[in-house]
Amino acid sequence: MNTLFVRQTLIEPRAAPPVAVAVVERWRRMLFPTPAMSVLSLALISLLVVAGWRFFAWAVVEAHWRGGSSAACPGDAGACWAFVIARWKPWLVGNYPADQLWRAWTCFAAFALFWTWVVRRSHAASLARVLLGFVLLPVAFFALLIGGGPLPLVVPTQWGGLLLTLVVTLATFATALPLGLVLALGRRSRWPVVRWVCGAFVESLRAVPLLGVLFIAATLVPLFLPRGLAIGLFARATIAFALFNAAMAAEVFRGGLQAVDRGQREAATTVGLSDFSTLRLIVLPQAVSSVVPALVNIMIAVIKETTLLSIIGVSDLLGAIEIGAKSPDWMGESNVLTSGYVFLALVYFTVCYALSRYSRRLEVQR
């Protein structure tokens, strides 16, 4: 057969043609592609506009900004930001002594700095950073806040508000992550007894609601403890959080460990690594960095779950707001408490949305 085609000069790469769709046209295609979709778009947009306007009217137009008591916010028409403005400081730090407040601010600042640093570093999380952020940082915070030595002692019952939320979240992570890792490894152990104990622990905690665990920690545990060994409510609640989330983290780690290819272990064996070295140098780094997004998601869940603390009488941010609304100055007007709740939602949304975006970015990077 004859040669049918031969190319003598190669085609150089060219730039793709520009997308020549006007902005208006692009929006029209997005919102009104078909009659049915147009109806849906219009319905949703008008819903958004109405709800948005109502909220704007409540939060800005009819809002009350000044005043030192509920008298500033008569009726239940507009938001009562005066309440938030007058009270926000104890909501952030609780009853932390005023002359020691710099310790609390340091923790907030260090936390914000750490996350800024983590987020701005582009490449994926390493084992060292996970340990630093989730274990070392919480321990340092706890030591700084509680004091002792040259610093005056400030017991946890004096902590409150957002500071307490932050501390409980970090303390939960500092204990739940190592414990979760141990549980996950235990479930893959060679020894059946270890497997059974770890499996039973994880499965039973995964099958009960956190609120139930918290109530047990708050009311039942003190009855079982020997006389003289009283553990504070704060500590008990934190332990309950830690154990519960250790079970969650264990499942995440288990997935990460399973995702490491079997060939990785085999290769590690053939270069002479012991089982422990294989785990430490080859398996864990890969398993951990693959589950960091899922761990951040657990962290978001923990932050939101801390609001349950107010139910058992620990004054976290939610508890502090409710206490504020019940104080003599602010009693009697329903919009006071509502405004506090909206402020609470705003604070949680800011923190959790930032973390959620970060976790999403980690997933994309992988």
Binding site: D261, G263, Q264, E266, A267, A268, T269, T270, V271, G272, L273, S274, D275, S277, L281, I282, P285, Q286, S289
Partner: protein, 255 residues
């Protein structure tokens, strides 16, 4: 040359090895002796047990019956210990079909992690040895890259260098070119041939019959978990003794 080999203590002795995957009889009464410096090629149809055979030698796969002796370490089917597996793996290197490089480490770290953490070498010495073997496989410039930045052929050459860095007495190759694009097969085979010229003891599972003819001292043909035929390459390819090998060669060599 043959006589000296016959008298040297074998580096691998497999006696009556039997292995099952559940109810499937994967290795059946396998006997293999490999002398120091020998180059063995193992071939056979897929599922014939050739990969299982080499993976049994370094105890990646346990076996149910028989005795194994590798680099002076005796292992009985009833007493396969982690200590024995560790001891054997510190003397035997392996190259896998899927490379199995450690993706979270640079090329250099891949090469020194075994010597440093498995063999107790000093970091500086391990690094020197690693650079030596990296030069040997022609990848010095890639020492600081991660495996994902390399081509398949380059990754497999790194894997070969990694196996050599532990100073093994024997290197096992489990289909080292089977997952490479055709244009990369040769660079890996050439690396292996140069290793063979240096007298490294090698057991190679491969379908590269040209390599077997050029390099092997003996070729082993397996089918259905058993050794069907063992012969020097000339005889193996030109006068196959069994009908199974004849038909296998007919399939592989016909292009």
């Amino acid at each position: 040359m043959t006589t000296t080999r016959a008298f040297a203590a074998p580096i691998v002795t497999m006696r009556g090895i039997n292995k099952w995957y559940g109810g499937y009889h994967a290795l059946r009464d396998v006997d293999v002796h490999v002398a120091p410096g020998e180059r063995i090629v193992v071939c056979g149809p897929s599922g014939s047990g050739k990969s299982t055979l080499v993976r049994t030698i370094n105890l990646l796969e346990p076996f149910e019956q028989g005795q194994l002796r590798v680099c002076g370490i005796d292992v009985d089917a009833n007493a396969i210990t982690r200590a024995a597996r560790l001891a054997i793996n510190r003397r035997v290197g392996m190259v896998f079909q899927q490379f199995n490089l450690f993706p979270h480490m640079t090329v250099l770290q891949n090469l020194i992690v075994g010597p440093v953490h498995g063999h107790g070498s000093k970091r500086g010495e391990a690094r020197e040895l690693a650079m030596h073997y990296l030069a040997r496989v022609g990848l010095t410039a890639h020492a600081q890259k991660h495996p994902a930045q390399l081509s398949g052929g380059q990754q497999q050459r790194v894997a070969i260098a990694r196996a050599l860095c532990t100073r093994p007495q024997l290197v096992l190759f489990d289909e080292p070119t089977a997952s490479l694009d055709p244009e990369m097969v040769n660079e890996v085979l050439q690396t292996m041939e140069s290793l063979a010229r240096d007298g490294m003891t090698m057991i190679v599972v491969t379908h590269e019959m040209g390599f077997a003819r050029r390099v092997a001292d003996r070729v082993i043909f397996m089918d259905q978990g058993q050794i069907i035929e063992t012969a020097a390459p000339d005889r193996f390819f030109d006068q196959p003794g069994s009908a199974r090998l004849q038909s296998f060669l007919g399939q592989v060599l016909r292009h």
